[in-house]
Structure formats: structure tokens, C-alpha cells
């Protein structure tokens, strides 16, 4: 356990230091996020949808696409000078590498959110009526879901010597089941839809805020564990 913690911490700190020194991903993420928010803000001026709807859409779209940037970098940094072989030569479990990379990606998205969320609130004049705990929980659950899938497939794409487009396609498709309750939860927090929705349609399938949270927790639990287990298999093969 002690060795697990030490090697996890070593990889985590190494990745954070490398990123903050190279400044390759975070500035790009923030610029992309701002661009998406800005474009959506312009669209909202002529769209029939309200500001709250457009704000929720802008937040998730920017989070998804900026997340892809940091996830792609996760294992690209290990390809330079064959550093991945250096990691694999050490007696560290592949699962430890996955958890460390996952934590780095979650932290990167949290930093991104700290910058972009206030911009979304200002640009779309949305509010959560004091439901900050729920709002932060929704963002964190979305963050974990996006990062867990993205980290695994970043390794797959890196080992397959292919690049970004494949990662985007795979990750976005797999994240679809989580994005439905995630969007529902954010729309509710922004007061864009009623507390409960019944009938036919994607949002009605989710039904309520509590159900949306339940779906997101289940998605995160399943995919963090599945990706953690699959990662060792993929690396060894």
C-alpha cells in the first residue's frame, strides 16, 4: 500500500510539474473553452432557446472538448523519448499508472472549470439559486466520467500510434449515456426545465434530478472500475 501510494504520487507530481512547466495543454483548453462559450453566447442572441439552455450546453460542450485535449496529452507525454518503456520497466502496477493519470486529468478539468464556469455564469446570466453543492457535485461527476473514459482510450490511441480524431470519436460515443443525465441535471439547476419531467423523450427518460445524479454516479462507478481493470490488460498486451 505504501509503495502504491508512493509510486502513484510520483507519477501524479511528475505529470503536474511537466504540464505546468511546458504549458502545452491548459492554455489551449481555456482558449478552446472560451471560444465555445463565446460562439454559444452569440448563437443564444438569435436562438429561441433561453439563456439557461444555451449556458448548460456551452458548459458541457466546452468541458467535453477541452477534456479531450488534456486526455490526449496524458500518454503523448510518455511517448516522447520512449518514457512509457521507462515506466513499464519499473515494478509499478499498470493500474497505478492509470489512477495517477486519471487524477491528473480530473485536476486539469477542475482548473479549467474554475476559469470557465464564472464566464458561463456571466455570459448567459444564469444562476443556481444557492444550489452550489449540487452544482459542484454534477460538475465533479461529469468530470470523473469524462476523465475515466478519456484516460483509458488515450492509452489505447497512444499505443495504436494513432491520434486525436480516433480518441474523440471513441470517447464521445462512450460518454453519450452519461451526457443525457448530466445535461438534465444542469438544465434543472439553471431552472430551464421543471423539477420532474414525464412522458416521451430523452429528458423524460431521466425523469428527475435525483435520478440524473443516480445515473451519473452509476456511470462513474462502472467506468472507473472497468477502465482501471482494462488498463492493465491493454498495457500488458
Amino acid at each position: 500500500m505504501n509503495y502504491f501510494c508512493e509510486s502513484l504520487w510520483a507519477i501524479f507530481i511528475k505529470d503536474i510539474v511537466t504540464e505546468f512547466r511546458s504549458k502545452q495543454v491548459l492554455p489551449t483548453m481555456i482558449v478552446l473553452g472560451m471560444l465555445i462559450v463565446w460562439v454559444m453566447r452569440i448563437v443564444s442572441e438569435s436562438a429561441s432557446a433561453g439563456n439557461a439552455v444555451m449556458g448548460a450546453a456551452a458548459l458541457w460542450i466546452s468541458l467535453l472538448f477541452s477534456g479531450l485535449l488534456t486526455q490526449e496529452r496524458s500518454f503523448a507525454v510518455e511517448e516522447h523519448a520512449d518514457c512509457m518503456s521507462g515506466l513499464l520497466l519499473a515494478p509499478v502496477e499498470p493500474e497505478t499508472i492509470y489512477i495517477a493519470k486519471l487524477l491528473v486529468n480530473i485536476i486539469m478539468l477542475c482548473v479549467f472549470e474554475i476559469v470557465v464556469v464564472p464566464v458561463v455564469f456571466l455570459a448567459f446570466a444564469v444562476s443556481v439559486d444557492g444550489r452550489w453543492v449540487e452544482f459542484i457535485t454534477v460538475l465533479l461527476l461529469g468530470n470523473i466520467g469524462i476523465s475515466s473514459v478519456g484516460t483509458l482510450f488515450s492509452a489505447v490511441v497512444g499505443l495504436a500510434r494513432t491520434r486525436g480524431s480516433l480518441l474523440s470519436i471513441i470517447v464521445l460515443v462512450i460518454l453519450m449515456p452519461m451526457m443525457i443525465p448530466a445535461t438534465f441535471a444542469l438544465l434543472q439547476l439553471f431552472n430551464a426545465i421543471p423539477t420532474e419531467i414525464s412522458g416521451i423523450g430523452t429528458l423524460a427518460f431521466v425523469g428527475s434530478f435525483d435520478a440524473a445524479m443516480g445515473y451519473m454516479v452509476a456511470f462513474d462507478a462502472v467506468f472507473v472500475v472497468a477502465c482501471w481493470l482494462l488498463f492493465g490488460f491493454i498495457i500488458k498486451e
Partner: protein, 247 residues
């Protein structure tokens, strides 16, 4: 882990390669290869490009799986018990395996942590001095010259004091001075009880650094002799003639 890790075998063979075969698609790279490397031995694997030298080293390191056969390192099968075999092994490859944004000290500290090295600070200071990089310890790896980077790569490979050091063409791109420095470091590693397995095209350096030379050709060993039994001049001439015939 600073002390050299205890072997798990009774005899003095630290590497035992048994009937190892490997193919990439239809191209057979290693064909039923057998080799035993003994403790403190310095063995050089020579061969032309594509002979299978790097593939063999990567199989010994556990980075590639053989299609057939097994590799035992200090008594542990590298495919079956990799977690027990890995602490005994260091690898210098064509690439440095170093992080350009980290300093010399930080790179070594990172790998020392991965190997669970005790007294890592003292060990790193000593290694930096041994490889002659003391004045540059706070420089990032990305600003180092090829020779300095190679010396740092050696320090990285032996930071956990492995029993076996695999060096895949370590002299590539080094000038005479840097090569001599590298030879000194490798000599010190062997003098401290380490076993060296090296690949190179440079037969003169092979004879200088190692006490045994084997030649790999089309996936098979075609020559195996102690350097003390080799007449340097004729051997180099014969090898050069052989290499020309293969290219």
C-alpha cells in the same frame, strides 16, 4: 533497494534465455535462441541492422513477449513474475526515457521513487557525480547535449542498483570523449558486481567493454567467444567483411 537485490537462483547464471523465438508478421527476428549470461560478465551482442539485437534486449527486459521460449532473470521468469524480475534490471535504449521538462535531479528522483529506492537523495547525488553531471543537476533534460543525456540515461538505468544492465547501442551519436566517459561508467558498474549486456555495431568498443562477444545473424547466434580468446585485428576485419556482405 540500494543494496543489490538477492538472486533467486543457485548457479551464477543471471540471465537464461531458452529457445526464444519472435516474429513480426512473417519476418522471423529470433529463431530458437539460447543464451546464458553469468554474474559480472560483460557480454556484447553484435550484428547488422535487423539481426534481432534490440528485439532480444526488449524481450529480456519484458517489454516484448516472445512467441516461444522463456527468459529467466536472476531466477525469475520475466513473463510470469515480472514484478520480481524488474527490480534486477536496468535498460539503456536508443531513446533516453527521460522527461525533457524535468531537471536532472527530478528525473532521477522520479525513477528512484518508482523503484522504491531507500536513501534516494544520497544515491542520486552520488550517481550525478559518477556520471559527471554535478554542475548541471538543476538543468532541464531538454537543454542537455546528446552525450550528457546519454550519461543521465545511464544514471536513470542504474538508480536502483540493478543486477543486470541492458545497453542497446549506448555509443550511438557520442563523440570520442563522451564514449570514453561512458566506458568508464560501464566499467565501474561491472566492477561493482553488475552484469552488462550490450549491443553495438562498434566491435572495437565491444572488445574494450566486454569479456564475451556473440554475433547474432538472422535470428541465430553464429559466433560466441571470450574476448581474451579473440585476436582483435583479424576479428574486426572479419566482422567488417561479414557486415558488408549482409548490407
Amino acid at each position: 533497494m540500494n543494496e543489490r537485490v538477492q538472486n533467486n537462483n543457485d548457479d551464477e547464471s543471471v540471465i537464461t534465455i531458452t529457445s526464444v523465438s519472435k516474429a513480426f508478421g512473417s519476418r522471423v527476428v529470433l529463431d530458437n535462441v539460447d543464451l546464458g549470461v553469468y554474474k559480472t560478465q560483460g557480454i556484447c551482442i553484435c550484428g547488422v541492422n535487423g539481426a534481432g539485437k534490440s528485439t532480444l534486449l526488449r524481450i529480456i527486459a519484458g517489454l516484448l513477449r516472445p512467441a516461444k521460449g522463456s527468459v529467466r532473470l536472476c531466477g525469475f521468469d520475466v513473463s510470469v513474475e515480472p514484478e520480481k524480475a524488474k527490480p534486477h534490471l536496468g535498460l539503456i535504449s536508443h531513446k533516453s526515457m527521460l522527461y525533457p521538462e524535468l531537471t536532472i535531479s527530478e528525473n532521477l528522483r522520479f525513477f528512484a521513487r518508482l523503484y522504491g529506492v531507500r536513501n534516494a537523495h544520497d544515491r542520486i547525488q552520488k550517481l550525478i557525480e559518477d556520471v559527471g553531471l554535478s554542475p548541471y543537476r538543476y538543468d532541464k533534460a531538454c537543454v542537455l547535449s546528446r552525450g550528457m543525456l546519454q550519461r543521465l540515461a545511464i544514471a536513470r538505468a542504474i538508480v536502483h542498483n540493478p543486477t543486470v544492465l541492458l545497453a542497446d547501442e549506448p555509443f550511438t551519436g557520442l563523440d570520442t570523449q563522451a564514449s570514453q566517459h561512458l566506458i568508464n561508467v560501464l566499467d565501474k558498474f561491472q566492477a561493482d558486481g553488475g552484469t552488462l549486456v550490450m549491443t553495438t555495431h562498434n566491435t572495437r568498443l565491444a572488445l574494450e567493454c566486454c569479456d564475451r562477444v556473440v554475433v547474432l545473424d538472422k535470428g541465430n547466434f553464429i559466433f560466441d567467444a571470450k574476448t581474451s580468446q579473440i585476436d582483435t585485428g583479424p576479428f574486426i576485419e572479419d566482422y567488417c567483411a561479414y557486415a558488408r556482405s549482409r548490407n
